[in-house]
């Protein structure tokens, strides 16, 4: 582990290597992900207050930039951007020509990826990794993780199988200290090379132990937890429990906020457009949601016409059928869907309620 007094050197090294740096910054009353020119753009002195359907910026420790959780965006926006043009075509005297040329992805440093989001990236790799565009963007990405020392009210990564410390899937791992300094470790050759160029001193054993302790203690401060039952089995057995799903539907706006903020929801739709001249056509890919009325539309109508059916689809995919499809759970416990639901539907509370219903 190395000591960094601040992030100035890291920013300079990344910029020198041609990376654009994407990380958290304050905008429109929230901590969003955007391109950062310098460390001062990070959300120093800001913490967030979260609850179901509630997110507020509050004053935080002035020297720390990573005392926040569950922002309104996930890193998927940079790996599977929406909307994205897949090709354009032109009709002329000789026929129809398709131009699928793609801008080479910009080398991008993802700065401040929390351990829950690291796991989400791993899940997305499994789902989308075969896609050429995704794979090229992923290969051009450098991942800088920041361990969690201040989990939020909506966080439940520990009970979702993770924890506040980054284990794998990153190039450089950071722990932020209360004095604004960082402990840095490398997990790949690229990370090792970058840290070596910063000529940072080694951290002492005491410093490492103190930082580790702060991260370990965070594990006990999760605001929420999932029920300790076999969720896959629970949801499978209750899939036709219409009374239960209808009761959730009474509260659910079907607004799709939960799927839009979820770091592992990846669904997209493809739409062809033409212009007014009739000489040009384009194919666009856009983020989609299983809460969209058109999502399950087949000839004659949608397969899932009620909101209850759509909520059941979403929660069952995350915690049950995701196992069959991708070999694990689709939830990393980041808490975003709890926070960004306008009416505050809490996925952990719903699962506890279902488990309770199962027992009685």
């Amino acid at each position: 582990m190395f000591q960094l007094p601040d992030l100035d050197g890291l920013f300079a090294a990344l910029h020198a290597d041609g990376y654009r740096i994407v990380g958290p910054t304050v905008s429109a009353g929230a901590i969003v992900l955007a391109e950062l020119d310098r460390p001062a753009h990070l959300p120093y002195g800001v913490r967030v207050e979260t609850a179901p359907g509630h997110y507020r910026l509050r004053p935080g420790p002035a020297r720390q930039a990573f005392t926040h959780t569950a922002g309104p965006q996930a890193w998927k926006e940079f790996l599977q951007p929406s909307p994205e043009r897949l090709w354009r075509g032109t009709r002329d005297d000789e026929g129809f020509r398709v131009d699928a040329a793609e801008e080479p992805p910009r080398p991008t440093a993802l700065l401040g990826v929390r351990p829950c989001d690291l796991r989400a990236l791993g899940i997305l790799d499994g789902v989308l990794g075969d896609g050429e565009r995704y794979a090229r963007r992923r290969a051009a990405s450098l991942v800088i993780a920041v361990d969690c020392t201040e989990p939020g009210e909506a966080c439940f990564c520990v009970s979702a199988g993770g924890g506040p410390a980054a284990r794998s899937g990153f190039d450089i791992g950071l722990v932020e200290r209360p004095d604004g300094g960082y402990l840095a470790r490398a997990a790949t050759d690229r990370g090792t090379d970058l840290l070596a160029r910063l000529a940072a001193p080694e951290a002492s054993d005491v410093e490492v132990t103190t930082a580790r302790k702060a991260v370990d203690e965070a594990a006990a401060r999760m605001g929420r937890r999932l029920p300790e039952v076999d969720l896959r089995d629970l949801l499978t057995r209750h899939r036709t429990d219409d009374t239960y799903w209808s009761a959730i539907a009474e509260r659910c706006l079907a607004c799709a906020n939960c799927t839009m903020v979820c770091p592992t929801c990846f669904c997209a739709r493809v739409t062809d457009v033409t212009d007014l001249t009739g000489e040009h056509a384009e194919r666009w890919q856009r983020a989609d949601s299983c809460f969209d009325p058109d999502f399950s539309y087949v000839h004659g109508g949608p397969v899932r016409s009620s909101t209850g059916a759509r909520y059941r689809q979403w929660i069952s995919h995350k915690f049950a059928t995701w196992h069959d499809q991708f070999g694990g759970s689709g939830c990393v416990g980041c808490g975003r869907c709890v926070v960004w639901c306008p009416v505050g539907i809490d996925i952990t509370a719903e699962l506890h309620a279902l488990a309770q219903r199962d027992r009685s």
Partner: protein
């Protein structure tokens, strides 16, 4: 192309309305020049006094039906149009003037006009679809320029127009606007309102006020509960659903539910 097909003819009609949706067509910039080249504009009184008798391949109809004369006129236009597209909140839902449906027209006619006996109008302001079959509806007050160009482009290409059926929320996410009710407790009708505007108002910190009208099956009951929780009074909740599309079944029910204390 070997043979240039005949240009489809377009007509634009106005009923009870403010003209804003028709102006959206005139406000299409370069696209208007392309449209003028590919369509034959056969009737558009807002732009030209030369009106051809038709028939028309496409009629764009703005405004709601508020008089007996207009009720007859829309039937005549329907008979002369292959496709009829209702544009805007007035033509699709009655518009602001449909608030009269919820009040006593004779009473405020007497209060506003010195000689109310000269004013002949129906007791209601109804959407075009209440009078004649409508092939497509473009919502909004006013309509979105991009959606209008999309519809005309789709008609020209012989394809289905790409019009979203989801709520405004999806467009806030696409635009990167953090959810206003969540970050600021701002009342917002976005979750029950049809997308199409590109989530314009929330991008400027104002809650959606529902000018595109309800999505097909909105959960207004859950939204009313949220508005109450945010501190809105029953009277205000009643009012917030009684604006541009007050007489749609969904918002009418929401206003009644919200106004109950």
């Amino acid at each position: 192309m070997a043979t240039e097909p005949a240009r489809p003819s377009l007509a634009v009609w106005k009923f009870a309305s403010c003209d804003g949706c028709q102006l959206t067509l005139l406000d299409c910039g370069d696209a208007l020049l392309t449209l003028a080249a590919r369509l034959h504009i056969a009737a558009f009184p807002e732009a030209s006094s030369m009106i051809e008798p038709g028939p028309y391949d496409v009629s764009l109809v703005e405004g709601s039906i508020t008089t007996e004369e207009d009720a007859a006129r829309i039937r005549d236009i329907r008979a002369r149009s292959t496709l009829l597209v209702a544009i805007g909140a007035c033509a699709t839902a009655g518009g602001i003037q449909a608030l009269r449906d919820l009040a006593d027209v004779d009473e405020f006619r007497a209060q506003v006009y010195p000689h109310p006996e000269y004013v002949r109008s129906l007791a209601t302001a109804t959407p075009i679809s209440a009078h004649v079959p409508v092939d497509l509806e473009l919502h909004g007050c006013p309509i979105d320029r991009g959606q209008l160009v999309e519809v005309l482009g789709a008609l020209l290409a012989g394809r289905k127009p790409d019009l979203p059926v989801h709520s405004v929320c999806a467009q806030c996410k696409a635009r990167g606007t953090p959810c206003l009710p969540v970050v600021a407790g701002v009342p917002c009708l976005g979750p029950v309102t049809r997308a199409g505007c590109g989530a314009l108002c929330p991008a400027y910190g104002r809650g959606c006020f529902g000018c595109f009208g309800p999505v097909e099956r909105p959960n207004t009951r859950a939204l009313v509960a949220l508005l109450r929780h945010q501190g809105m009074s029953p009277a205000d909740i009643g009012r917030v659903f009684r604006t541009y599309t007050a007489t749609t079944a969904q918002f009418r029910a929401a206003a009644e539910e919200g106004a109950r204390s």
